[in-house]
């Protein structure tokens, strides 16, 4: 079948072709706006749809609706209030109180007092803290997608990264921080690389699908963590019954930038740097060219002399390393130890996030900031409005759906179809 995709981009001085001259440069704006429209509308629609689940599970709202014909205003009013309270709490928890921020800034400018400022901006910085593991894990999934691989095992890799980094972090005492800190981080990454290279290797050698294998390795990783934290890596002493590791050495910690309680740490900067590195790697190096070619057309890659199997293993190893960095970062920057269940599902969320970011490192950073904000806000929402934090998963499911099938969004909002080929994410069982 003919593959007819619109001409996407056109430079000046094109030779005459069947199509009229190239699109003018001014439309770059138009196009980036179009590119943004889908994710923004996807998120908006997802929040709207999720609101119905908040309403549908609230007994007070349901009672009000059962009396809808007697008191329609009441039902609508209480519904609006419930949703507004929930999403309001989400905003407060995620960004903070704008009024309080303004007053604190004024106080700081007039008196130089910092405590109020720290308190006012605390929620916002917490969102950045929550975004940090999302950036790493999102890059991990995105890099897999670029090679045509679907790594749904980021969650397990996060645990492996945390366990290895934690072990290096607490067991090597007396090292200077300049050695210990990078060593701890890189050891975690290496652990994830080796762990995730296994499904990559199995895919390359036997064709076993990575979706099943990475999922299976998640369960193996969880049980392994459970065993280690209750056994060899368990903290002794009075807290002996809790499955938690010893604290890492101070020399292995990521430094924090602001006074307590703000926890923003070096990991955030490392994550941003990693995003730039991944972008450079994918688009400016021969290795990245190989990975992208294998992802776009493995047969053509083989024809061009590129080893498909080698790139499967390489891409999975790099993906695992990035995901493991999320775990190592949490241990070194936030928790300073490994506890059972320390990751609230960063790895699973990162699938939605990578899709939302179009599998592009820059897109991933924005999507991660958004998800970090949501996750941080949802914690507040759970305590203030008693909405379980799992609502985030429902939002995510809708986000993925709308981003992966933009036709739905275009249909709902009557948008014109844009040009450009749809990204290939995965292939069938055949590989």
């Amino acid at each position: 079948m003919a593959n007819s995709v619109q001409v996407e981009e056109a430079g000046g001085g094109g030779t005459p072709a069947a199509k009229p001259a190239a699109a003018p440069r001014a439309s770059v704006w138009q196009r980036s706006l179009n590119a943004l429209a889908i994710p923004v509308l996807a998120l908006f629609s997802a929040l709207v749809l999720s609101a119905f689940f908040i309403l549908g599970s609230d007994p007070v709202v349901l009672t009000a609706w059962s009396k809808f014909f007697a008191n329609p205003g009441g039902a609508l009013g209480i519904s609006w209030k419930t949703v507004a309270d929930a999403y309001g709490a989400l905003f407060l928890g995620a960004i903070g109180n704008p009024g309080q921020m303004a007053r604190a800034a004024e106080l700081y400018l007039t008196t130089g007092q910092t405590q109020a400022l720290v308190n006012a901006f605390y929620p916002f910085t917490e969102s950045l803290v929550a975004s940090t593991p999302y950036i790493f894990a999102g890059l991990a999934v995105a890099l897999g997608f670029k090679c045509g691989l679907f790594n749904i095992g980021a969650e397990g890799q996060i645990y492996i990264g945390a366990l290895v980094a934690g072990f290096v972090g607490y067991s090597f005492a007396g090292l200077p921080w300049i050695i210990h800190m990078p060593l701890t981080f890189l050891a975690g990454a290496l652990g994830g690389a080796v762990w995730c290279a296994i499904p990559g290797f199995l895919k390359a050698k036997t064709g076993a699908h990575e979706v099943i294998n990475t999922m299976m390795m998640n369960y193996v990783a969880f049980n392994l963590a459970d065993y280690l934290l209750n056994g060899p890596m368990k903290r002794g002493g009075p807290e002996g019954f809790i499955p938690i590791s010893p604290d890492i050495q101070t020399s292995a910690e990521f430094p924090r930038f602001f006074p307590s309680p703000i926890r923003l740490h070096l990991g955030f900067i490392v994550a941003l740097a990693m995003a730039i590195l991944v972008w450079w790697f994918l688009y400016k190096t021969t290795l990245g060219f190989e990975i992208r070619t294998v992802g776009a057309n493995p047969r053509a890659a083989r024809y061009a002399g590129i080893s498909v199997t080698r790139n499967f293993v390489l891409a999975m190893a790099l993906s695992g390393a990035l995901a493991a960095m999320a775990g190592a970062g949490e241990v070194m920057g936030v928790n300073h130890n490994i506890a059972q269940g320390f990751s609230p599902g960063y790895g699973f969320d990162s699938i939605a996030l990578a899709l939302l970011g179009g599998s592009h490192p820059l897109g991933v950073v924005f999507a991660a900031l958004l998800f970090g904000t949501l996750r941080n806000g949802a914690t507040k929402m759970q305590s203030l409005a008693t909405i379980p934090i799992d609502i985030i998963s429902i939002v995510q499911a809708f986000v993925i759906m709308f981003v992966a099938a933009p036709a739905i969004i275009r249909w709902v909002y009557r948008l014109k179809a844009g040009g450009g080929a749809q990204a290939i994410f995965t292939r069938g069982w055949g590989g």
Binding site: M1, A208, M216, N223, I351, D390, F398, W429
Partner: protein, 425 residues
């Protein structure tokens, strides 16, 4: 020239045979080495033919065997076969793999049960129970993928159905309404998957992931927000076992505990297995389904509605997955637990692949996975004999899945159009 070709082909299979032979030799030596440890000459193991639950059943004598001679004989046998395979090579290797793996399992069980007793029927009965949701998930996968729609959302469908069955059964007080609600939720989630992947031509694996994330999110959300607040909505609701309905069945030795100390859903699964197997290969629906899965355009040129066929199959598959979900609650523990399916939907997919996309093959591999699951449970009971931390035993089914998948892919063939949306122009 032809003779040279024969040699060329032969040498490849021959080196493979050698590799397998080396592997069997290692297995045999492992039996000899490991399963002679921590035991002494004369120690006995008891393999029971009765189960604790089935005291009413007619009791049979237990099989009592000496540990060391059994493991020594089996170990020596496998080693011998391995060496022979390395030196001479057998033509067919399928049965050899069966002999080696059963010898390993038997020696392991005998060794694990040394000085104590171990219910053989119990573990087989548990295997069938634990295989049931995997079988149903795999059948769901067969229905979808034979019409070329990949369904990795079986996990989510089962989870959604499991919760719904408990909620509805408690709300209405009717087990059967809960049962049908589970099927309906399976169908509903499947219809969603169908709209996304067939209508909007979304990548089918991404579409399945959407359902999985949605179902895990929504069930956890409702579990915390509704079921933990109104605890009477999560009261235990289970179908009675067949032997409770008609006690005579339960009294049959071996077969009683094996087949009748079971939930009716186990039987529904077995009946579905037969029905789908026959229908797929011998009815109009089956012929058309397979045609749509192998070569949808050819089917289209003969006037078969590809899109409609896929919709029907995916929704039927969703209902079967819903039945699998109902098994977790109505057929087993009777209450909903957060994330209670625990990856069984993914294992079901592996079982389907392992079974070469056929119902009967899926059943055979479901039994293997069910056995691994059952073994893991039983070994935790025997933890005094087997010094393996329970966490490692819990990993067993997942690792078995990975090994099985790696060993079989490449030799099984998915439907040719699997995973590809149909473009009608």
């Amino acid at each position: 020239m032809a003779a040279v070709a024969q040699i060329g082909v032969r040498s490849e299979t021959f080196s493979r045979a050698r590799l397998l032979g080396a592997f069997y030799t290692v297995v045999g030596l492992a039996i000899l080495f490991f399963f002679s440890r921590n035991t002494h000459v004369g120690e006995l193991a008891t393999l029971g033919l009765n189960t604790v639950q089935s005291v009413k059943a007619i009791q049979l004598p237990d099989i009592i065997v000496p540990v060391l001679p059994v493991t020594a004989i089996l170990g020596a046998l496998v080693t011998l076969l391995g060496v022979w395979q390395m030196v001479r090579g057998f033509r067919t290797t399928g049965w050899l793999l069966g002999v080696a793996s059963s010898a390993f399992l038997v020696s392991f069980l005998v060794w694990a049960a040394r000085g104590t007793s171990f219910s053989l029927i119990g573990i087989l009965s548990a295997s069938l129970q634990l295989a049931t949701p995997i079988l149903l998930g795999a059948l769901s996968g067969v229905l979808c993928e034979r019409s070329a729609v990949i369904n990795i959302a079986i996990e989510g469908m089962m989870l959604g159905a499991a919760m719904t069955s408990v909620l509805v059964a408690n709300l209405t007080g009717s087990l059967w309404l809960g049962f049908f609600a589970a099927l309906a939720v399976g169908a509903l989630l499947a219809a969603w998957h169908a709209v996304m992947s067939i209508q909007f031509k979304m990548d089918q694996i991404v579409s399945g992931t959407v359902i999985n994330i949605f179902a895990t999110g929504l069930t956890s959300f409702l579990n915390q927000r509704v079921m933990q607040v109104y605890q009477n909505l999560n009261n235990q609701v289970t179908f009675p076992l067949l032997s409770q309905v008609s006690p005579e069945l339960g009294r049959i030795p071996i077969l009683g505990p094996l087949f009748f100390d079971q939930s009716p859903i186990v039987w529904m699964a077995l009946i579905l297995l037969v029905v789908i197997q026959v229908a797929l290969f011998n009815t109009r629906w089956g012929l058309r389904t397979r045609a749509v899965g192998e070569h949808p355009r050819a089917a289209d040129t003969l006037g078969i509605n590809v899109i409609r066929t896929r919709y029907i199959n995916v929704i039927l598959g969703g209902m079967v997955a819903g039945l699998g979900g109902a098994y977790f609650t109505l057929g087993s523990v009777g209450r909903f637990d957060k994330l209670m399916t625990n990856g069984r939907g993914f294992i079901a997919l592996a079982a389907m692949i392992f079974g070469n996309w056929t119902p009967v093959g899926s059943f055979a591999s479901s039994l293997i996975f069910g056995f691994a699951d059952a073994l893991q449970v039983k070994l935790q009971i025997l933890s005094g004999q087997v010094n393996i931390p329970s966490d490692f035993l819990l990993m067993l089914p997942y690792i078995v899945t990975m090994i099985a998948l790696a060993g079989v892919v490449g030799r099984v063939v998915p439907p040719a159009a699997d995973g590809q949306p149909y473009e009608k122009q």
